[in-house]
Symmetry: C2
Subunit: 278 residues, 2 copies
Amino acid sequence: MPRSASTASTAARAEETRRPAGLSEALEDYLEIILQIAARHPVVRVRDIARAKGVRMPTVTAALKRLAALGLVDYQAREHLVLTPAGASIASRIRGRHRFLTRFLGRMLGVSPAVARRDACGLEHHLSAESLERLTAFVEYIETCPEVGGDFLPRFRDCFGRDARQAICTHTACPQYARQASSRGAPRRGSHVLAPVASLRPGVCGEVARIQADERLRVRLQRRGLVAGVEVEVIGAGSLRGAARVRVDGRDVPLAPREARAVFLDTRPAREARDART
Amino acid sequence: MPRSASTASTAARAEETRRPAGLSEALEDYLEIILQIAARHPVVRVRDIARAKGVRMPTVTAALKRLAALGLVDYQAREHLVLTPAGASIASRIRGRHRFLTRFLGRMLGVSPAVARRDACGLEHHLSAESLERLTAFVEYIETCPEVGGDFLPRFRDCFGRDARQAICTHTACPQYARQASSRGAPRRGSHVLAPVASLRPGVCGEVARIQADERLRVRLQRRGLVAGVEVEVIGAGSLRGAARVRVDGRDVPLAPREARAVFLDTRPAREARDART
DNA sequence: CCCCTCTGTTAGATAAGTCTAACAGGATAG
DNA sequence: CTATCCTGTTAGACTTATCTAACAGAGGGG
């Protein structure tokens, strides 16, 4: 969701994002590419920048002029191209984010390499310093957490991996487990008891707290906007036995029986509570 | 980092991202805002869209025309505005991502609410379906992992929280712990032994595997591009005792003694190995 | 009934970021 | 020495996304 009225203009937003005024996503990309080429080649050629970014040469020339105007590269037509200290500093920062995100998505979460790389390209420009710090701390914690003794990630892969369909698993979170022993004891979060949509009657509202499903079902639900954190109101049973209908942001979404059993709500007593945290 | 030459044109990229051709970030924002307003108000007014997005009304009119041309809203000048099923479906998907990311950043990682919301705005357009699926699975796993018995997040907060500076902690990952008992036994990852930059001699290359530091130090390193996943070469000791200099993407980065002790490398035997995974 | 206010439109300007076409300058090959 | 090729520039066009200024319609107050 976009920013609210209080943080209005584009300029204000840029500043807020801690991105030096006037530096767009595209320009950040150029800086990063220049840094990368410079690390491997003695001279940085327009040609190579264009190839790396997938654009034509005149586009690069234009970008270099904008970067020069911002004081981030030393550029004069047909001369050697170098990053200024300011430019190199920004480029390093972006590149670090890129590497970290690629690694997080790929090695940690198990996203396929090509997608991890592509997503990192998009995400790197939008992660604030604060979020990056928290995320790196989180990764650091997981990788060194003594409680799980280094088994954490392998176990995650076992349960939620793509090719580990027949893994034996005792996690309640594991789709296999769920399939075998459907519900021995309702899941909890803190002191709240979570309930699957299938068990709730029309009128109940709540926030989606868990999606206990395998990859395919999870993706199907995500396409319709059903993901943890979303506010939902149960509006009726579906046509089939066990099916349900829920209201999400004003839209009616029908759920098949399997789906209705997979979506767990953290219910609230009141029916009308659509003040909605943004 | 931007895409490589193989996935060249903007059109190709849009398709790849699974974003229907011609639908930009800004337009996705408009769809999301319209959905949100529609869920609360019987009619959706241009005025309100403008306010929510922080732009002027004529900008909204223009955007609505583009959305109408894409078949995502039913729009005729001065008439009621409604999302088409296709538009509502996209809007739901984006909104779900937004909610999930806000929750992940805020509640899970502990990012401050305002920043979490703002980052979610930027990230929501760049997370592929695959990454989202993996990330939600990861969260699901953590929240229900029997090995850590639900203590996982509170413990994370204890060790890496902002205001829990004096928490007693036995995690090797914890900055407090590190400060007290600096290094009893080198950290490992798999069969590799990780080594702090401070202990390495010039010429050694490796990937940053851990940053064992508190928030302030971590942020300071991140500003210079030093974050897990980055390729680094140790190029010398610094001026001070315990300080060091490393080369990151062709840039010389000096490290203070504390910093050199905080950055752990997964070292490789060969010196020149800058084929660099992107 | 006329004027004022609010909502929303049109018109026209600007900036970023891309493209193609055409030109300029240097190296190389005959 | 000239023709050719490669690199990079300039020129001009287009799209997206934004702005301001000015106009249009609808409702209410006097």
